[in-house]
């Protein structure tokens, strides 16, 4: 089923409201929607709610043979199939442009930015390495899937614990969670995506667009940053041209947002860790 276009009234009103400094959901231009993080009982499962947008990330791992040319390199894989659950506009087995875009951005943000130390996933060089898999399930699409997915993915990776292993020569023993406490992955840094939507020929810039705003926007941009103000990725695929200083202004906003979101992720992780300790006792 194809997406229903918003009516002229909605379109014109949204633009008028923006001119008036207001957004449909009552947010200011640079506000993110309320972000909710909830963890499953098992490691590496996290559900992210960004307003009405819902994403579930599940991290899993298995032991496999490395590529001969990279004998000590582990694997990090993402699966980002857009499920029709998120929007009936997404068909099974038919990749939409949106899907391609989303998965590319996530690849760039997570893998290319070397957020995860894949060398640290080696068990026996040339023989056995860990392959980490991140399944991202889109449950509800109310705009800005990319940011939500990235938050889910990195939080999942931070939350995940892989079974401990001991290597004696060729002998590899993988310990169950009962035998030994599982070990966290070594994460270099926490890349966060911040998406912008542009209206009014670039005169108006907003953060974290909703679905309606995405349908009407004139252009967009996604900046991937970490708390150290390092830009991991910046993608502006088409849309209206933007002044350089506008881009710089965006990145300044992003820096602030990234700090907030990273803090919230950390807080959530700490809270969950405490909960687990209590339950273990």
């Amino acid at each position: 089923m194809k997406e229903a276009e918003p009516s002229t009234n909605e379109r014109e009103f949204l633009l008028a409201a923006l001119k008036d400094g207001a957004r449909i959901d009552g947010r200011n231009f640079y506000d993110f929607r309320t972000l909710r993080l909830s963890f499953g009982s098992d490691y590496g499962a996290v559900e992210v709610q960004l307003g009405n947008t819902r994403v579930l990330a599940k991290v899993s791992c298995e032991v496999i043979k490395p590529y001969p040319d990279k004998p000590t390199e582990g694997f990090l894989m993402f699966s980002t199939e857009l499920s029709p659950m998120a929007s009936s506009a997404f068909e099974v087995g038919r990749q939409t442009d949106e899907e391609v875009l989303v998965s590319r951005l996530i690849e760039k943000a997570m893998r290319r930015s070397r957020a995860l130390d894949t060398e640290g996933l080696c068990i026996v060089a040339g023989e056995k390495v860990w392959s980490i898999r991140v399944d991202i399930h889109f449950l509800d699409h109310d705009g800005n899937l990319v940011d939500a997915a990235c938050i889910a993915a990195i939080t999942g990776l931070l939350h995940f614990r892989r079974p401990d292993v001991t290597v004696v020569g060729e002998e590899v023993t993988i310990h169950t969670l009962e035998q030994r406490n599982p070990v966290p992955l070594s994460i270099h840094h926490i890349p966060i995506c911040i998406s912008f939507a542009f209206f009014d020929k670039g005169g108006c810039v907003i953060v974290d667009p909703t679905h309606l705003e995405e349908q009407i926007k004139e252009g967009d941009m996604t900046i991937t940053l970490n708390v150290h103000k390092e830009v991991c990725a910046l993608s502006k695929a088409g849309g209206i041209p933007m002044e350089l200083d506008q881009i710089i202004q965006c990145s300044n906003i992003a820096v602030v947002k990234v700090a907030e979101i990273t803090a919230q992720i950390q807080a959530a992780l700490d809270a969950d860790a405490k909960k687990r300790q209590v339950s273990r006792k």
Partner: protein, 294 residues
């Protein structure tokens, strides 16, 4: 018998057109007329299965093979043994990979291209039966622990489709597995060798057979009409108008290996019991047929 019944139908004043036209127009109504008289258009009784034949070793290029006919349904199963690396978490276990293929050749109902949902479901059902009722110990397929194991590709090709593909496929798979002969392998630095000498006599020790813990065989039924009458071994036409299916899979000791009931309204436990009882007899018949051809 079929012809006579058809004649009587055509004769009865209720019909202003031929039985065949009537069947096309109101398949369910057409069947009802028969079922009410305790028979089916093809002359079978409600609980009778179609004539069945099993031929083993029909394919010489395969390690094991069987051709099974159940009425108009013909399937050929070929088992090929190839060498593969074992999974890291199961270094001493081989692979047993059953797949059923419903290609356009066997019925116009099937389209070319990747396996249909039906094909996938049957493959999965057979895979589960083989695994869950541990028919074969995968350790028997180990060549060199952690290095090389046998991978048994069990491929079922449907040559002619006329319903009840699950029974036909499972029978073919079991007959083919029983028929499998694999040359005893030798393993030297990463290479698996087998002798190419054609040794035809039965009791040669240059090759080995599979130790099958049990031979599950199935009997399937459809539920017809609101009365949910049980029709054994449905053909293509009967599947098309069925309200739901029941399949019972039993091994030689009479232990159940799988029971599945899908579709239709709720089925009483009584009819489930009837199916199990009938399946018992049927699987005995099937075994007899399998053995006489061995």
């Amino acid at each position: 018998m079929a012809s006579s019944t058809t004649a009587s139908l055509a004769a009865s004043p209720a019909f202003t057109f031929s039985a065949s036209t009537f069947q096309k127009l109101h398949p369910t109504e057409y069947f009802r007329k028969f079922v009410s008289q305790g028979v089916r258009p093809d002359g079978r009784l409600l609980n009778s299965f179609r004539p069945t034949t099993v031929h083993q070793g029909v394919i010489t290029t395969a390690n094991g093979s069987a051709m099974v006919r159940i009425g108009g349904t013909t399937v050929v199963c070929g088992v090929k043994a190839e060498v593969a690396e074992p999974k890291l978490d199961a270094p001493d276990q081989g692979y047993l990979v059953p797949n059923v293929d419903l290609s356009p050749i066997c019925s116009s109902a099937f389209r070319p291209g990747p396996p249909s949902e039906q094909a996938q479901v049957v493959s999965d059902q057979i895979n589960r039966v083989l695994k869950e009722s541990n028919v074969l110990d995968l350790k028997d397929l180990c060549i060199e622990e952690g290095k090389a194991v046998w991978s048994l590709w069990v491929d079922v090709v449907c040559v002619s489709y006329d319903g009840n593909i699950y029974d036909a496929s499972l029978t073919a798979v079991m007959a083919a597995l029983a028929n499998v002969r694999i040359r005893k392998p030798t393993y030297e630095e990463g290479v698996v060798k087998v002798s190419g000498v054609d040794n035809t006599d039965e009791d040669d020790n240059s090759s080995f057979k599979l130790k099958l813990a049990r031979t599950p065989l199935s009997a399937s039924f459809v539920l017809f009409d609101t009365s949910l009458t049980l029709l054994a071994d449905p053909n293509f036409a009967e599947e098309a108008i069925s309200e739901g299916q029941i399949s019972i899979t039993i091994d030689e000791q009479g232990k159940l290996c799988a029971v599945s009931k899908v579709g239709a309204a709720t089925t009483s436990l009584t009819s489930m019991r009837q199916c199990v009882d009938r399946a018992r007899e049927r699987s005995q018949e099937l075994r007899a047929i399998m053995n006489q051809h061995q």
